[in-house]
Symmetry: C2
Subunit: 307 residues, 2 copies
């Protein structure tokens, strides 16, 4: 439709999200030049083989040179070091954004290195699959999903507008939010579910003998949904939990109290308590379905495809 | 292919599983007569409108009259009362089976009422969706899934063979297992995942103010998988937890210990502990995918369809 939105965009990190964004930008001609940067030579070679960008480097300073948008798509634990490396190489007017799943930590780690005249617009496209790496990306990943921006107070509106338009052009609906609030909402909708899925799959792994094989065999009873979530990228998720500690621990405390109450109801045979609880949770599913967030993905052995 | 396997089958209960079995049996001509029995007039009328059977009654004694197979597809809490009602109305040689998700409780509740000359073959087709009621069923539900039979020691082999053949003819692979072992395996692969999903969705429901709406809006981050599981039939699941108390409480204890360990790692910022754990759980997903239990269903607003 319209011409390129960006002259040069630098993607720092090229995993599931970075490579999906690269594909979507190429498909829609959103950037004249896509510079791809990643730490590992092997990942960079993979990105090159996939033809995801226009230039490739392991040096973030080289990638951001002349870029009007820098999008950090690396694990959260790498942010501070990346920002320190690129800070004084940023072009005046450059917008620095990211795709990380926590937002207060991102502002803490990036803002000290974003110079005057550049703009920090942290963002979080709420989309993903359990697959990781450049090859796992696909241009449609973002379509009909939400993206949350958490610009610090006083951020230039045109910088926010640029990032907003980018995500809208790849199919997302964009909201802005206070970073602390973002971390709370995602703590319950994403981080806690992942922690729980990782836990239960680990609990099952630790069972002795025959039962472990059977856990896999009979996983259709509910367990397989957890194995999918618990197959997500380990480094990414380690960093999420380390960087959203307060919100996750608070939600976990509430969860544990609620689980203990149901455990007690089971032990004492309190059928009414269980039934009432289970009735209530049905309603929230209806809301999810009505909000069209229920997921029309087909999960296959080869990854998620939209139906 | 072959002729009818059964002259008369009585389905006691006609929810998701019962109605799916009725559809599959009709489709493949497995029974000359399908007698459908359910407690509520409205459900019976729905089954009749859907044309699921050959006769319809709210009286289980009438349904089982002359049946060579009685398949109980009701919530577990209704089993003992159903068995007491039908026990002396069963035809000599009749096989009594079921589709319940726990097996020791089923033997406890049914065996006192199955007379000499009749045969008890408890079974559990490990298949389902989050939808319930006669209209939610579909003939393909069982295809490529496992069915577990737990016949008590000394059960006549031809009775076990009949139930085995029925499930095989609707597409399942059939295994036999000790009932206590079944309850342990399903405790971890199905019952605990459901309990946890019900809990976290309840925890999210209880959050105050704006955050509740946002939980639905941003559910694509992981939460929506839990809402699907937590939309399952409340009565059915109440009865499962009440009837598999020991195994569920044991697995829950292990889960809680493991969750507490991860919680501690988050609090103390122990990234290595988290990373190691998250690496390990990826492997079990690979096993699930290789076992073809990963689910090739398309989840849509209208229910699950096989892709």
């Amino acid at each position: 439709m319209d011409g390129p939105l960006l002259t040069r965009v630098a993607l720092i990190g090229i995993g599931l999200i970075g490579s999906s964004l690269a594909r979507a930008m190429r498909q829609d001609g959103l950037a004249e030049h896509i510079a791809i940067c990643t730490r590992r030579d092997s990942t960079l070679a993979e990105a090159r083989d996939l033809g995801l960008g226009d230039s490739y480097t392991t040096d973030p300073r080289e990638a951001v040179h002349g870029a009007n948008l820098v999008m950090i798509c690396a694990p959260l634990g790498a942010y501070a070091a990346i920002a320190e490396r690129i800070g004084d190489a940023l072009m005046p007017g450059c917008v620095v954004s990211d795709v990380g799943s926590t937002k207060t930590s991102v502002i803490r780690d990036l803002s000290p290195y974003v110079p005057d005249g550049c703009h920090l617009v942290p963002g979080h496209p709420v989309a993903g699959t359990e697959h990781s790496g450049p090859a796992a990306g696909f241009a449609e990943l973002f379509r009909d999903r939400w993206c949350i921006l958490t610009p610090p107070p006083g951020t230039a509106p045109e910088a926010v507008g640029l990032v907003r338009e980018l995500w809208q052009r790849v199919g997302m609906s964009v909201e802005t939010m206070d970073p602390e609030h973002h971390d709370k909402v995602l703590g319950i909708t994403s981080h806690l579910p992942h922690l729980i899925a990782y836990t239960i799959v680990g609990t099952a792994c630790a069972l002795q003998g025959d039962i472990q094989k059977e856990v896999v065999k009979y996983s259709a009873g509910g367990f397989r949904d957890f194995t999918r979530i618990a197959a997500s990228d380990p480094v990414m998720w380690r960093d999420i939990f380390l960087n959203n500690k307060e919100a996750v621990l608070e939600m976990l405390q509430r969860f544990t109290e609620d689980l203990t109450a149901l455990q007690r109801a089971i032990r004492w045979g309190e059928g009414d308590v269980l039934h009432q609880h289970f009735e209530k949770t049905r309603e929230i599913r209806r809301d999810v379905v009505e909000m069209h967030q229920a997921g029309k993905f087909i999960y296959t052995e080869n990854g998620a495809e939209r139906s």
